[in-house]
């Protein structure tokens, strides 16, 4: 391993130097950071990459004062610093944008930005005029476009991120940490974010960007630090490295970035949504507007879209957790419209939900109890659950899906990848010809994602019809036979997945294009909520 690390010698006077950082998460005995060495130069954009669980976020949380290291020293601007909490970090000029935004939806942009550091009048009143003015000034200075008076909940995800960045800049921080800032953005929004970051750099800010998308590293950073299993394994100049090398460093072996989808002719229809519409009571704009989807045997239908455009609602409806307002759903020709989740489960519904922590599992229940929620009726003798039989079943599943854990511990103690494997083991045990996958690899590392892709492809080979709802375009483009895009509850694109690329799909996702509505073909819709 040390062979990779030739560039890891200390550079003269780095802006930030983290040395020998060690952090053990005692609740699950994970050594998240193991003697980590990390350096950032003044005025650079530095990418911090690694698989999930490699310790990137932990390292940055330590820097931002959200976690205390067990060992190790931090030097900032040449002096040793002790960062006990985010307030200390702010004082040093270090700010962080979290993966999940910490904004108050009902507050305006200005109110969110000044929160915690409000300009005062007479010592106790908030000087709103001054606040608004300084927010506008800050935004202008860093060329950020944002309406200071818009309530945050009305903003797009990309704009919310701008607010988060603005919050840091308003505090006059000059060291920005961004934790996986692109995971929720569309292609276009990512481009805009990168432009913003470049502007900030020119104005003298130093930026650390955490990511596990390697092409982004190439696109934005000057130097990159690779972490693997809690250790820093390499520091590279981005110009002298490539995606292949980085991914090898990240996972310790070559990863197949593209896999072969065998061409299998699709079979007969197994699942069909017909004119499905969902309207919330008292609202005019439907959440789902006349959705028609047909899934055949051996077919993966990918559904793409930016969050808030009907993907969740579609998932809920197929999962039987929400009733349609009108329209029909057929499975194997049977009308299953508006059956409850109980009835659907009896008929063999298999569904891997996007919210794997609160819908897909019960975190405090054991792995065993999580594994049998939909099929515990198979283990009954009279009214009594046969524990031995259940345990044997779970152990067999654990083997089959290579889940490494004691089945008696709460599932919440497992890693995200293992939790997802438990869910897969449970859902795929159902003998069925149709499965819904929603965000199956969201937040998972490369190895776990690959495992899941293989499973999905082997199901397709076996003749199962699959709907794959995902915000990960790479995933959708490489897995789907048919691809559709949803925007504002409507299907705006529905085509066989042939010669499609991210740029085009991204435009449909943002509503810039619409296959089925020629009126709005050229101009983007005005945003009215």
């Amino acid at each position: 391993m040390r062979g990779d690390t030739t560039e890891m010698k200390s550079i003269q006077n780095p802006l930030l130097l983290m040395e020998g950082i060690t952090k053990l998460y005692p609740e699950n005995s994970v050594l998240a950071n193991d003697n980590v060495h990390f350096e950032v130069l003044e005025g650079e954009i530095h990418a911090l990459v690694g698989e999930n669980g490699a310790g990137k976020t932990t390292l940055m949380k330590i820097l931002y004062g959200l976690q205390r290291p067990d060992r190790g020293k931090i030097y900032y601007k040449g002096k040793e610093v002790h960062i006990k909490n985010p307030t200390d970090a702010h004082r040093l000029g270090i700010g962080m944008v979290h993966q999940h935004f910490r904004l108050i939806g009902k507050y305006t942009v200005t109110e969110n930005v000044i929160l915690g550091r409000e300009p005062r009048r007479y010592g106790m009143l908030i000087d709103r005029k001054k606040a608004r003015k300084s927010v506008i000034e800050t935004a202008r200075k860093y060329q950020l476009e944002i309406d200071p008076d818009a309530p945050v909940f009305k903003l797009s995800i990309g704009q919310m991120q701008i607010v988060e960045i603005l919050k840091i800049l308003y505090r006059e921080s000059d060291f920005l940490i961004l934790d996986e800032p692109t995971s929720v953005l569309t292609e276009q929004e990512i481009k805009r974010l990168f432009e913003t970051l470049r502007t900030l750099k020119q104005l003298g800010k130093t930026i650390v960007i955490i990511t596990h998308k390697l092409h982004e590293v190439k696109a934005i950073s000057e130097r990159v630090t690779v972490m693997r299993q809690g250790k820093t394994v390499a520091v590279k100049d981005t110009a002298t490295t490539d995606e292949r090398e980085l991914s090898r460093l990240m996972v310790g072996r070559d990863v197949i970035l593209k896999f072969e989808r065998e061409s299998i002719p699709k079979g007969e229809t197994v699942y069909k949504l017909e004119n499905v519409t969902l309207t919330e009571r008292g609202k005019k704009v439907p959440l789902l507007d006349n959705i028609n989807i047909e899934v055949h045997r051996h077919e993966i239908v990918g559904v793409a879209g930016v969050s808030g455009n009907g993907l969740t609602e579609l998932e809920d409806i197929i999962g039987g957790l929400r009733r349609v307002t009108s329209g029909k759903i057929y499975h194997d020709g049977r009308d299953i419209t508006n059956l409850s989740s109980i009835q659907l489960r009896e008929q063999g519904l298999a569904y891997v939900p996007s919210d794997r922590l609160y819908r897909g599992s019960s975190l405090e229940s054991s792995v065993i109890e999580n594994m049998i929620v939909s099929n515990h009726h198979n283990f009954l003798r009279g009214e009594i659950l046969e524990r031995k039989k259940i345990l044997n079943y779970v152990l067999a599943q654990r083997e089959k899906y290579s889940i490494r854990c004691d089945p008696n511990i709460p599932i919440g103690m497992l890693s995200g990848g293992n939790i997802q494997k438990v869910i897969l083991a449970r859902e795929l045990s159902t003998q069925t010809d149709f499965i819904l996958f929603a965000e199956p690899t969201w937040g998972l590392d490369v190895a776990s994602s690959e495992f899941i892709y293989e499973k999905i492809l082997s199901l397709r080979r076996e003749g199962v019809g699959i709907i794959l709802i995902s915000s990960n375009l790479d995933e959708i483009l490489s897995l789907s036979d048919t691809l559709l895009v949803m925007y504002r509850g409507r299907i705006v694109f529905y085509e066989e997945n042939k010669d499609l690329n991210k740029e085009v799909i991204g435009e449909y996702m943002l509503g810039l294009r619409d296959q089925f509505n020629s009126l709005n073909h050229t101009t983007p819709r005005t945003e009215v909520v």
């Binding site: 929620v373 009726h377 103690m413």
Partner: protein
């Protein structure tokens, strides 16, 4: 990584026992400090408080006897809490079912014996189940908060029971505010004379085992517990979550009903005004100490009974008031619900993952 898992983690049982020991130790220290502050003869008081319940058969038997209704009500609360529904109507459920048990026994004086007691007890338990079940039904139907509705129903029912005891069912030959006594053949046999301890103790112990079996070995129990921990997950998995709003309430009320009936046939033999007050609320305390584990309800109820008996003995033989028990109870409540002690021994299921992928 998985091998490292679990090494540092104590088992849940060990954590609970350790945590409880610390809690009780602190509680005892508080008792002793209070006694030194309040009593003019502290050593004498301490002796009677801690040793008093064991000094003769009468005290000891009565202590055990007073733990019996607490086992039933503690179980009733544990079952509800495990399913994340809240029954705050225990007081009224116990009281009303005690009245029903008495009324049935008085109405069928010739029945008696095992059969009569069974009939009357069943009527009582169903009364409790009905009262609690109402709240569950309202919750299912109109999403009313069962915590509030069960409390309010109970508060109203108590007044109605009072009316019957002092009115239509009052025994005019007796100066007590109470109903007539039930016939001799309805008395449960005493097993530790001269104390009031009776055969309902065995029934309580059997019930504990049955409830444990129900909760941990049947599909109802499994589904109830899953609903208790994560209703969304339960619904997703195809469990009838509406059913498990009502069922735990029915069961909880049923168990409270048993507490009322067993008190009548075992101890009081007539429904005396306000006799059961405290059984419902203390059931909540018992369930809290037992961490909603059915088996742990036994030691928990015994401990509660011990504290009460100790205070009684100290009050009779020394110079403190009964209220000291309330203070000790408050301290125990505080320590147990604070959870801090338990978390010192245990690390909670990782919040890290919750943060990582929670809301999108």
């Amino acid at each position: 990584m998985s091998n490292k898992n679990g090494e540092r983690r104590l088992s849940d049982l060990a954590v609970n026992i350790l945590g409880l020991s610390v809690t009780l130790l602190v509680a005892f220290i508080v008792v002793i400090v209070l006694i030194f502050l309040l009593s003019k003869q502290p050593l004498n008081t301490i002796y009677y408080f801690f040793i008093g319940p064991f000094t003769n058969r009468y005290y000891f038997g009565n202590m055990l006897n007073s733990s019996i209704p607490l086992m039933f009500t503690g179980l009733g609360i544990a079952v509800a809490f495990k399913s994340s529904v809240f029954n705050l109507g225990g007081e009224g459920q116990v009281y009303a079912s005690a009245l029903v048990a008495t009324a049935v026994a008085i109405a069928l004086p010739n029945l008696g014996g095992l059969f009569g007691i069974t009939v009357a007890t069943l009527a009582a338990a169903l009364t409790g189940a009905f009262l609690a079940g109402l709240s569950g039904y309202f919750k299912m139907k109109w999403n009313t908060d069962e915590l509030i509705s069960s409390y309010l129903i109970s508060a109203a029912v108590i007044l109605i029971v009072n009316y019957f005891i002092t009115g239509p069912l009052n025994d005019p030959t007796n100066s007590l505010l109470a109903t007539k006594a039930v016939e001799k053949q309805y008395f449960l046999a005493r097993i530790f004379i001269p104390s009031k301890l009776n055969t309902s103790l065995f029934f309580a112990l059997i019930t504990v085992v049955l409830v444990y079996f129900l909760m941990y070995h049947t599909h109802w129990g499994y589904e109830m517990r899953i609903c208790g921990l994560n209703r969304e997950f339960a619904r997703y998995g195809g469990i009838n979550t509406a059913k498990y709003l009502v069922l735990p309430m029915l069961l909880s009320g049923f168990l409270h009903g048993l507490a009322g009936s067993m008190s009548i046939f075992g101890t009081y033999h007539r429904c005396i005004k306000t006799f059961s007050f405290g059984m419902g609320w203390n059931g909540i305390a018992v369930a809290l100490i037992a961490k909603n584990n059915p088996i742990a309800v036994i030691p928990s109820a015994l401990f509660f009974a011990y504290m009460q008996a100790g205070a009684n003995a100290a009050m009779i033989h020394s110079d403190i008031t009964y209220e000291i028990v309330s203070i000790v109870q408050a301290v125990i409540f505080f320590l147990i619900t604070a959870e801090a002690i338990y978390n010192y021994f245990r690390y909670k299921p990782s919040k890290k993952y919750a943060e990582r992928g929670g809301e999108k």
